[in-house]
């Protein structure tokens, strides 16, 4: 009996051992996931959610490492300084691309492996229910009345949301002022206090804040759930703002080995189809997806051009 047990154990060890060497040469040690903010930032939460759900599908150990500074430049340079062995990858957002452009950095996006674009978060025009102006029609009427003095608030000048605001003004033929705040939270405080009329952000910003509402959403179709009654730009008669998004995803240094590539590809695919992940992403009004290398890189390049043009227009870069 005892002998049988031992034999069984030995056999088991062999089976498990051969299994792991045959199918998964990667990873053989913990993988570092670099996050460009301090713990507790929005992208940090995204990364940790990802590792939590990834644990269902792989035994690999992920260590989240926070490398904050310069809006992500520090983290990207860190990735570029490490070996392309697949053991370092980073969480990225569209804002990082903007930062590369605005700081005039020599980082070449072609040196990076744009592994997966996992979340597409539509841009949203957000207003306060406490103010008399809170629907799209009211915003436009108020802007025309104030003739360029209507105040829009949001995070950093030259960022995603600022550029979204400029595009919206152009498309709607209105003029307004952009007053930037140090963070989205502070800008929302300004909207709640009535110091601005519009805040530009993403649908998740209004969750848990009943005084805020999404007036218009940049999406080809209406969102579901809590946002079912929010009109899209097309519905309010504005063309060309159907797919303005803040994406989130993962990238690494270009040139990782094939087995690492296969491992990640498989993992991203599984997480993207995971019910818990989909629920987490959709609750914030965003869309889960899995855009792979070439498609992701094309998005990044398009964003780079758009940031370049917009930042020139506001005079932040030459």
């Amino acid at each position: 009996m005892k002998k049988g047990c031992i034999a069984l154990l030995v056999a088991l060890v062999f089976v498990v051992g051969s299994f792991s060497t045959a199918t998964a040469k990667f990873p053989t040690k913990p993988i570092k996931l670099i996050v460009y903010t301090k713990p507790g930032g929005a992208i940090d939460v995204f990364a940790r959610k990802f590792t939590g759900i990834a644990a269902k599908y792989t035994d690999a150990t992920f260590v989240v490492v926070n490398k904050s500074g310069a809006g992500g430049i520090v983290a990207i340079k860190h990735i570029l300084s490490e070996k392309a062995d697949g053991y370092n990858f980073a969480a990225v957002t569209r804002s990082n691309v903007g930062k590369i452009v605005s700081t005039g950095n020599e980082i070449n996006v072609e040196d990076l492996d744009w592994m997966a674009l996992m979340v597409s978060d539509p841009e949203a025009i957000i207003t306060s229910r406490l103010l008399p102006v809170n629907t799209w029609e009211q915003i436009v009427a108020d802007a025309k009345e104030k003739d360029g003095n209507q105040i829009w608030v949001g995070p950093a000048a030259g960022g995603n949301d600022h550029i979204m605001a400029m595009k919206t003004w152009n498309a709607a033929g209105i003029k307004a002022k952009w007053i930037p705040y140090a963070s989205g939270g502070k800008a929302m405080a300004a909207l709640l206090g009535g110091h601005g009329v519009v805040y530009v952000g993403n649908p998740q910003d209004v969750i848990g804040r009943p005084d805020l509402k999404v007036a218009v959403i940049s999406s080809p179709e209406r969102l579901g759930g809590d946002f079912a009654d929010v009109p899209t730009f097309k519905e309010v008669g504005i063309e060309g703002l159907d797919n303005e998004i803040l994406w989130r995803g993962f990238m690494a240094k270009k040139g990782m080995p094939e087995e690492a590539k296969a491992f990640y590809h498989d993992l991203f695919d599984k997480v993207n189809n995971d019910a818990e992940w989909q629920e987490y992403v959709q609750r914030g009004g965003a869309v889960p997806l899995f855009d792979k290398e070439e498609k992701f890189l094309a998005t990044v390049k398009k964003d780079q051009e758009e940031f370049g043009a917009a930042l020139k227009q506001i005079g932040a870069i030459k």
């Binding site: 301090k38 713990p39 507790g40 930032g41 929005a42 940090d44 939460v45 940790r48 959610k49 939590g52 989240v64 926070n66 490398k67 904050s68 500074g69 310069a70 809006g71 430049i73 520090v74 340079k77 605005s102 700081t103 005039g104 950095n105 105040i151 950093a156 000048a157 030259g158 960022g159 002022k177 007053i179 930037p180 705040y181 140090a182 963070s183 939270g185 502070k186 929302m188 405080a189 300004a190 709640l192 206090g193 009535g194 110091h195 969750i207 848990g208 804040r209 009943p210 987490y280 609750r283 930042l311 506001i314 005079g315 932040a316």
Partner: protein
């Protein structure tokens, strides 16, 4: 009563060995992290966010808020004992706390800081519990012009901080403001004075600058006058302040606690500004203003009760509206999100056990902090009887580790040493360093809000906005009045007492 009912829920969350153990752990970690230069409250909380991921949401937030409140007190320990503020706001505590240690009265300094922190923390939490929602609404009404005026009022406190030489304090504060111009322009996004260095896009980080100015500068000064023997302090007295001494400062503690809470409520103000302003107010209200800066118990009490009470204040906008009021709040917001919770009005309805669990935990954490502090002080105080030959190298080592810990960047270490050299020069030639911190902390707040106010409504806003106008007037007079008094003082040299004192 609804409140009683809610607290029954709240306390039921925290009663049990596990939550209580978590509170005690949080308080101990908070005190130690606060005392460690480099681990500011926000970093201390951030360090344990990943750790709390696996806990239940209520326990995780209880742990993090216990750390938050205790770390604001912890900063005072090193500030009093070795003139090295563990947290930015403790820079104000050091102004009177360290002179007390030099006079051999470290026990009184630590004791006052502890009691003031406990009472301040309790007042802040009480105001949070009772008035969170209406207060948060009022705070939101403040316009950029009002914030600018408030920040200028903060800068004006420099006049009362200077002991004698006003010009030197002005130089110090201007240096701080100058440092703050480095980095990305907060309004236009253009890089300023970064010389293409990635590390400068966010400007100099406050913590390494603070450690350099306070801690490393002391080490350099000591090396300069090195004798090779001696202890940091020959006579130390761990006697706590007497009951009588406490009764004398009770109004200072109460007033500073209220000031601290109110300033804490404004998103973007925070513990450091609260400490500076209440120090200034207490000096004005004091019967012995001449003692400030020379080991006044009132000075220590004002700074510590204000920075601890600001914790309760800062949680007001976070819990009531989901708007982070301080750097630590921003980290807490992330912790909420990790557990799929969104702080704000809905949280009170949907998860009262979390909100009232936090409230109850904050009350308990304050009490735990008092007892741990009373016991700990007897240990901490031994630090100053260490031989100098050990003490100063250890301070240097801790300073370097601390500045590295902030971002894990060697650039910060270099910046810390650079600021150490600056601080050493400052001390050598009699310039105070605390105003530099004031300049760094408030520079951005003044600039951002001034520009926002002008962009929104033009320059006239500072006159049209009545609140901003009144605060600006108060700031102006609070700046000019001490200067006028000093000027009169100089005209009558017969009464000259303790001005021109060395820092």
């Amino acid at each position: 009563m609804e409140l009683v009912e809610s607290f029954t829920i709240g306390f039921s969350v925290i009663l049990g060995w596990k939550p209580l153990l978590i509170i005690v752990t949080g308080v101990i970690f908070g005190i130690l992290a606060g005392a460690m230069p480099g681990l500011s409250p926000s970093t201390a909380v951030a360090l344990l966010v990943p750790f709390s991921y696996t806990m239940s949401p209520a326990l995780a937030l209880i742990l993090l808020t216990s750390i938050y409140i205790a770390s604001n007190y912890g900063g005072s320990i090193t500030a009093v004992l070795i003139n090295t503020p563990g947290t930015p706001s403790a820079a104000v505590t050091a102004m009177d706390g360290y002179p007390l240690t030099q006079q051999g009265k470290a026990g009184k300094g630590l004791g006052t800081a502890l009691v003031a922190s406990t009472i301040g923390g309790a007042v802040g939490v009480l105001i949070l519990i009772l008035f969170a929602v209406p207060l948060a609404r009022v705070a939101l009404k403040f316009s950029p012009a009002d914030y600018c005026a408030l920040a200028l009022f903060g800068l004006a406190t420099v006049a009362s901080m200077s002991r004698g030489n006003v010009i030197k304090s002005m130089v110090a504060i201007l240096f701080g403001l100058l440092i703050k111009t480095i980095g990305t322009d907060p309004i236009s996004g253009v890089s300023r004075f970064t010389f293409g260095n990635d590390m400068l896009y966010d400007g100099f980080t406050l913590i390494p600058a603070l450690i350099g100015l306070f801690a490393i500068s002391v080490v350099f000064s000591k090396f300069e006058t090195w004798t090779g023997v001696g202890r940091v302090m020959d006579k130390i007295d761990n006697k706590l302040p007497s009951m009588q001494e406490f009764l004398k400062i009770k109004y200072t503690i109460l007033r500073s606690s209220i000031i601290g809470t109110i300033i804490g409520i404004f998103p973007g103000a925070g513990a450091t500004i609260a400490a500076f302003i209440s120090y200034d107010m207490s000096k004005r209200a004091s019967k012995e203003p001449e003692k400030f800066g020379h080991g006044s118990l009132e000075g220590v009490a004002a700074a510590e009760s204000a920075n601890s009470s600001s914790v309760g204040g800062a949680l007001v906008p976070l819990l009531a509206l989901g708007i982070p009021g301080s750097a630590t709040d921003a980290v807490l917001l992330g912790a909420f999100m990790l557990h799929d919770l969104v702080p704000g009005p809905m949280l009170f309805q949907d998860n009262p056990e979390i909100v009232y669990g936090i409230f109850s935990a904050l009350i308990v954490a304050n009490i735990v902090m008092l007892f741990l502090g009373l016991y700990g002080n007897r240990l901490f105080i031994k630090v100053v009887s260490v031989p100098e030959a050990i003490m100063y190298p250890v301070i240097l080592a801790i300073a370097i580790i601390g500045s590295f810990a902030v971002n894990g960047s060697m650039f910060d270490v270099a910046a810390c040493i650079g600021f150490g050299v600056v601080g050493w020069f400052f001390k050598r030639y009699g310039f105070p360093v605390a105003p530099v911190v004031l300049g760094i902390v408030l520079g951005k707040m003044v600039e951002e809000n001034f520009r926002r106010a002008v962009m929104m409504d033009g320059y006239g806003v500072f006159y049209r906005d009545k609140l901003a106008f009144i605060v600006l007037l108060i700031a102006f007079f609070s700046f000019v009045w001490p200067l006028y008094k000093a000027w009169r003082h100089h005209r009558q040299p017969a009464t000259s007492g303790n001005d021109e004192a060395k820092i």
